[in-house]
Symmetry: C2
Subunit: 195 residues, 2 copies
DNA sequence: TCTTTCTTGTGAAATTTTTCTCAAGTTCAT
DNA sequence: ATGAACTTGAGAAAAATTTCACAAGAAAGA
């Protein structure tokens, strides 16, 4: 689904107004029926004999996905990955604002990264409750991930993205998503060794 | 599949010798039949009435996935994400060694990041061919991703992982994998807005 | 040895996802 | 107008994935 946005924004910046599912499929490297099914899922946006109006479609997809608004995020764990995310320009561009950064290392507390002061993780609840935070990003080492998740839950955060390579346990009203690049390398290793 | 490794390594470090699919399923948050199907796919590793021997299983999985060896990688694009990957300790630990780092920015060339000298991207072919490089990581801005891919193909690299948010075109003997965190944030936004 | 309790591996069933196909709507040249 | 060329939306078919259900093997106590 994210691919559609990527490709459509590209088309938009190239001033292309309309695109048929066949061409869009080519660019996204998927089957065109797939695209038509997906797009038909949230309304009739195509025009028969013509195709899809890029701008309208993009807006509709974004609305459907819930990214036609801003989302407040916080990050726990200011290591290499944490810093990369804090500095990543693409996230705010897509409506995901990292509002605060936390770490429990006294050497990091007080430091500034990409305009964010690093705050002690213990103060997460106190700080995060002042603002309505939607999403928490965990970029700690694996042994600290669960504690970070606990702090987030105490602050009422309902969506957690865990970049640490470990499972975490959360109450049933919290959604967790796991991200681990090593998986991509592993999958590549597998594909290269089974030609 | 990567989850299995994560959980099994955890069990191994806890000295647990045997685990039944039911318990493993719990920890991986998947169905136990699923696990048994997956594990049976590359041989009969379980023992009926007992379960799976953690160490043997782990070794078998790693062999099957092709990660019981080292893989030589290079990276193009020494930005925030590139630096995070270069410094990431987990990758070499799992057998993925980033051997060289390239960038086309004259200010970055010559700089050292986590023990890697940053080299001009134009010298990629010349440099990479000295060593047998298996996997190329693209962490450039999107507009430079295709060029990076071209350099990699010229150096005979058959596996590319593209972290840049754009599609790239490669010859049919090259495998590409796309990685984009914004997708995880988008998917989270979707789940939070459809409770 | 026999019985009870576990737990795997796997065929069958159920479910989900992907692809095929085509009627119906749109555009454009004539 | 009319016909030819396109393209969507959606039902049907096909393929892939996930789950169920249970025979058969293993362990342990009586």
């Amino acid at each position: 689904m994210g691919v559609y946005i990527q490709v459509l924004e590209d088309l938009q910046s190239q001033q292309q107004q309309v695109i048929p599912s066949e061409k869009l499929a080519e660019k996204c490297e998927v089957n065109s029926s797939q695209i038509r099914k997906d797009l038909a899922y949230f309304g009739e946006f195509g025009v028969r004999g013509v195709g899809y109006y890029v701008t309208d479609l993009l807006q509709a997809i974004k609305h459907f996905l819930g990214i036609d608004r801003n989302w407040n995020c916080i990050l726990v764990g200011v290591g290499n990955l944490g810093r990369a995310l804090l500095r990543h320009r693409q996230l705010p561009q897509k409506g995901f604002q990292i509002r605060m950064a936390f770490d429990c290392d006294p050497f990091k507390i007080g430091e500034h990264v990409a305009g964010h002061e690093v705050v002690c993780t213990r103060r997460l609840k106190e700080k995060a409750q002042l603002m309505q935070i939607d999403i928490g990003l965990i970029t700690t080492p694996p042994e600290r991930a669960q504690r970070a998740a606990n702090h987030m839950m105490q602050a009422g955060i309902k969506g957690i993205i865990n970049f640490a390579p470990t499972r975490i346990h959360v109450s049933s009203d919290v959604t967790v998503d796991y991200v681990d690049f090593s998986n991509h390398l592993i999958s590549m290793a597998f594909r290269l060794s089974h030609p």
